[in-house]
Subunit: 156 residues, 2 copies
């Protein structure tokens, strides 16, 4: 199965379907894209193999799971040397509380999204795990008061 360089309209349609609900049967999808089962199946497998689809996951309801607090952290590192950065990034990757971390342009270095049960639990994470990282110079925490929109669907 060779890597296909460009996706056609049907591939995009399939990706749109799967990124919104990966539980559709191939039969369902086949009907929606007007193909029969086997080419639809082949296309999906190819999209997976070629890495257009990274993974399939279940999205959990954090509020029902007692994870009611989301905090944004703006982190500034000591600027002296670059090795600080990879050391920091390595630690972040290992913290399950951090669900996203981006290196950004602007007045600070990293933007994190942190999930916690409540303020105390967040404070524990902050004091014991984040603030103690050797390269961290400054952290601002912004508390999420309302989650207006959250999606994993890309604009295709």
């Amino acid at each position: 199965m060779a890597i296909k360089l460009s996706l056609d309209a049907l591939d995009i349609k399939i990706l749109k379907i799967l990124q919104n609900n990966s539980q559709h049967t191939i039969k369902d999808i086949a009907e929606q894209v007007n193909l029969s089962l086997s080419p639809t199946h082949d296309r999906i497998k190819r999209l997976e193999m070629d890495g257009f689809i990274k993974e399939y996951v279940g999205i959990l309801n954090r509020k029902k799971l007692n994870l009611g607090l989301m905090v944004h952290c703006q982190v500034t590192l000591e600027k002296q040397n670059r090795s600080n950065f990879s050391e920091f990034e390595q630690s972040i990757k290992e913290f399950p509380e951090v669900i996203s971390c981006h290196l950004v342009s602007g007045n600070f270095d990293y933007y994190l999204n942190v999930i916690s049960e409540d303020v105390e639990s967040y404070n524990r994470f902050y004091q014991e795990k984040l603030a103690v990282l050797p390269s961290v110079a400054h952290i601002s925490s912004l508390f999420v008061m309302d989650e207006i929109k959250t999606t994993t669907s890309l604009p295709l």
Copy 2:
């Protein structure tokens, strides 16, 4: 099937598995939690019905799909009245480019995550869709230079 109020250790184990990879077969999961097929199946269905699992989705590779740019937007609204807020939120929900939007504490009101092909495409979104919303007073854009970590898995 009645709603179960508290989850036991096996339920949590199942959720952990499914939030990382929803393509495991029930047989797989049953083995990992040391149950047979049917109670495992029942538990999964119950977790879905009770809303602990919100949905199953495919996660796409945005870079391979020519969506190489992510931007964080800090948005401040005119503070005069509250109706601005729901008007703004309604518009945001309809923009596919915005993959997340949070009302936050701090110096501004909303924090957005926006996905675009490139800087020009982002600028078009900014000029034509975001900046023109009537209630918007100020927007700062921070460009994501590196995506260190992105996960949909909650810390269970």
